[in-house]
């Protein structure tokens, strides 16, 4: 039983955490692609920017969360979401919109977004320094140990993990309701389907573009912050996020927000399963194994330090065998 709890902690919990974060990033990538038709490479840095703004606000008001009994960083989330959305809309107006108005090819916008990546990374590093920083300023991370009867090892969940799960489920449901029930959400899907006809129907496409950046920016802030809360804030977080979130968006079928969620969890679980030490699960069987088999101490598919190859592999496999993704998306 201890081994199963170990599996639960290191695969189910860890996979759900990674999956939730990738899912929220991938939704942004997929929405931006469906509305603006380019791969927004600066998206992972938008996640870092969101987390950075939360760090900044937390440092400014370290005790703001106490009256509510929540970590200060979580209380600062809504403000950071607004600020990141504003930054995203501002970046679009200054860098991407002039290019769009010139009618450039999508690749030009992709390169522009690479420029924005470098700029954001530089700016964040300038203010935050290069080291890792905890988003728990003047406070301690709550860790919950759930005892399972008859087992010595507890199920371990941290406070940010629980918040992450709640926030992910709430965001996905909210997004679903927005896209299928609200007038603007439907207009967003309409514009993704057929932008010319959307214009000919009187849909204010500029408003839809703004809205896309607001949703993508808000989700990026949530994902970046909750990841930083769970681990720590680093200015180069985006380096480990960019590839997985693009893999997730492509696996799910570009242009499908719910495909992106599925893709996020698929990539997240693939990563955790690949670095999981399977030897732990085999240990109870050690006595029944023939004597000539010696159980190695570590039986992971890839070392933790090479975790990033997993999404890379998934990405290449999907692009070769199913370029439209699981849910027939657009081919980038």
């Amino acid at each position: 039983m201890n081994e199963l709890i170990y599996f639960f902690n290191y695969v189910v919990v860890a996979g759900s955490v990674t999956g939730s974060i990738y899912a929220m990033g991938a939704i942004g990538v997929t929405l931006i692609y469906s509305i603006l038709r380019f791969a927004h490479f600066a998206h992972a840095d938008m996640m870092t920017l969101g987390a950075f703004l939360v760090l900044l606000l937390t440092l400014l008001f370290p005790h703001a969360g106490e009256p509510l009994g929540l970590p200060t960083a979580v209380v600062m989330l809504p403000i950071a979401m607004v600020l990141t959305s504003l930054a995203a809309v501002g970046i679009d107006r200054v860098f991407y919109q002039p290019l769009r108005n010139h009618g450039v090819k999508p690749i030009v916008l992709v390169i522009a977004s690479l420029g924005v990546t470098l700029m954001l990374q530089g700016l964040i590093r300038l203010f935050s320094g290069t080291g890792a920083q905890s988003l728990y300023v003047d406070a301690r991370k709550e860790i919950f140990r759930l005892e399972v009867p008859g087992v010595t090892r507890p199920i371990i969940l941290t406070e940010p993990q629980i918040i992450l799960f709640v926030v992910t489920i709430a965001s996905v449901i909210a997004l679903h309701l927005f896209l299928t029930r609200s007038r603007l959400g439907k207009a967003m899907r309409a514009m993704s389907d057929n932008p010319d006809l959307a214009r000919a129907s009187g849909i204010n496409t500029q408003l839809i573009v703004t809205l896309t950046w607001v949703i993508a920016g808000s989700l990026a802030t949530l994902a970046g912050t909750l990841l930083s809360l769970d681990v720590a804030f680093k200015p180069d977080l985006s380096f480990f996020l960019l590839l997985p979130i693009f893999a997730a968006a492509i696996v799910g079928g570009v242009g499908h927000p719910f495909g992106a969620v599925a893709g996020g969890f698929l990539v997240g679980f693939a990563e955790t399963l690949a670095v999981f030490n399977w030897s732990v699960l085999l240990r109870p069987l050690r006595d029944s194994l023939p004597s000539w088999i010696e159980l190695p101490n570590n039986l992971a598919l890839v070392g933790t330090e090479y975790k990033i190859v997993v999404p890379f592999f998934i990405l290449i496999a999907v692009l070769i065998w199913r370029p439209t993704g699981l849910f027939k998306g657009k081919v980038i």
């Binding site: 007038r183 309409a190 993704s192 389907d193 057929n194 006809l197 214009r199 000919a200 129907s201 009187g202």
Partner: protein, 234 residues
């Protein structure tokens, strides 16, 4: 005062002129039909009216007001509806959502108008929850026209509404166009099925090389031996 007036319109794409002086006038209770050989500038003229290409000379007026080179968005606000020939639906949206998008600027009237459209195009009511992209060609055309009608336009521009449809559906669509017109919507449409279209036309415009060749009532054009010989295949 005419509903829609085009006076000596010049224009084209990327410096190449396709329209070399087109005149058109339709009244509020009329159906105007544009016919002519391929490359005559029929669709281009419709797009020019709807602000989809830049007009370099001439003027377009809606109820006497100049609307030359206004954006499609502004024209929709002023009561113009446009149904493109291709890509005229939102394929992944349901039929109902397609219609709702047509009423984007008037959400308050959407529910009432949807019911009217369903009465007008009964097959759409049955399929209202289906993605529009899964419908047959004729039904898609109904969705496309329904979407444009949801904005309660005073003038409807149709670009080859019967292209690729079976004769059965073609007649059905022409009947619908007549009904729409009878309900007080001015119609201007481009048609390849020239003979059938001119039969329902109050005004016919035969374009060639971006200019008016013949302009008359639909019946007069059908009866004109020269029009018949050169443009209607004898």
């Amino acid at each position: 005062m005419p509903l829609l007036e085009a006076i000596d319109v010049h224009g084209g794409y990327g410096g190449m002129n396709i329209l070399n002086g087109v005149d058109m006038t339709i009244e509020a209770d009329e159906i105007g039909v544009i016919v002519g050989p391929n490359g005559a500038g029929k669709s281009t003229m419709l797009k020019a009216i709807f602000g989809l290409l830049t007009i370099t000379g001439g003027e377009i007026r809606l109820r006497g007001e100049a609307i030359t080179n206004l954006s499609p968005h502004k024209l929709v606000e002023r009561g113009m509806g446009f149904v493109p020939q291709e890509k005229n639906i939102f394929p992944s949206l349901s039929v109902e959502e397609n219609l709702e998008m047509g009423a984007f600027l008037k959400p308050a009237t959407a529910t009432r108008l949807k019911q009217q459209i369903y009465e007008f195009f009964p097959p759409l009511k049955e399929k209202r929850r289906q993605p529009a992209g899964e419908l047959s060609g004729g039904q898609r055309q109904m969705v496309a026209m329904g979407r444009a009608l949801m904005n309660e336009p005073s003038v409807l521009l149709l670009d080859e509404p019967t292209a690729g449809l079976s004769p059965l559906y073609m007649n059905e669509i022409f009947e619908r166009v007549k009904t729409i017109n009878a309900a007080g919507v001015g119609v201007l449409m481009v048609e390849q099925n020239a003979k059938q279209a001119l039969r329902i036309a109050d005004k016919g415009f035969v374009l060639a090389a971006g200019q008016n060749r013949f302009t008359d009532t639909g019946q007069a054009l059908l009866d004109d031996p020269e029009v018949a010989r050169s443009f209607l295949g004898g």
